[in-house]
Amino acid sequence: MKNLYAPIRARVTRIEELSENVRLFRFKKDRGRFAKNHGGLTFIPGQFVMAGVWGYGESPIGILSSPYEDSFMEILVRKVGVVTNALHRLNVGDEMTIRGPYGNGFPISSFEGKDVVMVSGGCGIPPIAALIEYIIQKRERFGRVYLLYGAATPEDILARKRLDTWGRHINILLTVDHPSPEWKGHVGLVSEMVKDIEINPLNAVATMCGPGPMMTALERILRPLGISDRRIYVSLERKMQCGIGKCQHCVTGDSYVCIDGPVYNFDEIDKNWD
């Protein structure tokens, strides 16, 4: 029997300051590489790790790096409380803690052969980032792929460099609310970009992320595109303490976000009454 509550040591190998409150952390295991599942992935896009600092606790954080990468993982951490502040105080070379990956992740094999529309905003990029890396790796197996990404200002667009790389393989529609003088792209709501999307709604899947804009995304983008609720996936956020289905904090309706989620089919979401 194992003490599943004890994390393993990891070492921070790279830190990128993406905005005042958001940092990207790359870390590797102290010993060995990350184990691969039978699909050859180190995790399923949409899964999360419990990332922490000794003595400060741990928090569920979506994995951002490619699921094919086994020498490191990357996460994007917004500074909001005890653990995330402690993570932000780490320097390259410092130790952090990891448990996981946990959660269900997107049903990626069912996405194959279909058009994919991903709607995101703010910190909602991590779970999709891994999904995009996955899609790009097997690009020929997917139909038309769109990422719709809205941010308040150009500075708030996270991981710009990565977006440029992705843009060579998938369609990226960026928009900001408040442009800077250099901004050449779209200004306004994400939903205004719907007209630029060409998909076969009967053979498409969609993902929604980010906190507030979910319902808007649904009403203004995915429904007008004709994608049915059954093929829309959302990632939910609930308080977590154990990550392994024991502590009862993450429950929503009949399920545990830490093991049955965080990814839910949108037509099931009304069962998650709390």
């Binding site: 003595g55 005890v82 402690a86």
Partner: protein, 261 residues
């Protein structure tokens, strides 16, 4: 693991009180020594001879500011400290000095000292009535383990957190019969836990010296108390330590007034 590289500069001050909370600090023994390894005590009247009035990273204040001198010192300490922390119920909620209300006090002064006596005390209000306070370590007296917990959190750069559970948690662990169920008032359910439920274990009620806990269901408790105590008694319970809390003024008083009218 993260450690603060330089020692925190700490000041420990006491206003009007019984010094019982500082006794608790001293009684930490080895744990106090461990703490002293990590901090530099710049000012502690009770604990050392050479004291300075520098800038402080952390100031602990015991007792209730009653005289003008104490109030002025409090304001000065606030200016000079990064973290100012109330230490013990006298500092956090007025505590023992605040139990008697002003009218009663005047009457007793008159009785004891005669009409000529000019009291030095202005009022007995908690620190928060005069300055912004960063954290309150409640307790009459404070609990040793809670002092250690809060110090650990401060030293490791965390924002100290209040306990989310009620006194009833430790009261049930101690195996006490419940006062409320036996028709005797108790403020345990609305009071922040962490004290070990010592009063109830010792046969007394909980008067709430650990402060009102987060999102306490005070009206629900008042409904229960109503069935076992009259208005004066309920008042007496809530004014023992909680008279200057927001909840007393915003929930308990209006409730009692409604009950009367």
């Amino acid at each position: 693991m993260q450690r603060e590289a330089k020692k925190l500069k700490v000041g420990i001050f006491d206003f009007t009180d019984c010094e019982g909370c500082q006794v608790k600090l001293v009684s930490l023994r080895e744990r106090l020594l461990a703490l002293l390894e990590r901090v530099e005590i710049v000012n502690w009247r009770l604990g050392q001879e050479k004291n300075r009035m520098d800038r402080f990273d952390l100031v602990l204040i015991e007792g209730c500011p009653i005289t003008q001198d104490e109030i002025d010192l409090l304001k000065l300490l606030r200016e000079r400290s990064t973290h100012l922390i109330g230490f013990g119920t006298c500092a956090t909620m007025g505590g023992i000095p605040a139990i008697m209300d002003q009218k009663e006090r005047a009457k007793w002064y008159n009785k004891i000292y005669g009409p000529q006596y000019k009291p030095r005390g202005i009022d007995s209000l908690p620190l928060t009535s005069y300055v912004k306070v960063d954290f309150l370590i409640h307790g009459c007296p404070v609990d040793e383990n809670e002092i250690v917990r809060v110090m650990e959190e401060l030293l490791s750069g965390k924002k100290p957190a209040y306990r989310g559970y009620s006194v009833c948690f430790q009261c049930k662990l101690a195996g006490n019969p419940c006062r409320l169920i036996n028709g005797k008032p108790c403020l345990g359910p609305v009071t922040q836990g962490g004290c070990g439920a010592i009063c109830v274990s010792g046969g007394s009620p909980c008067y709430g010296c650990f402060g009102i806990r987060d999102t306490a269901q005070i009206e629900g408790l008042l409904d229960i108390l109503k069935g076992m105590a009259d208005k004066e008694e309920i008042e007496r319970y809530f004014t023992m330590f909680l008279r200057y809390t927001k909840e007393y003024n915003e929930i308990v008083r209006p409730f009692m007034e409604r009950e009367n009218g």
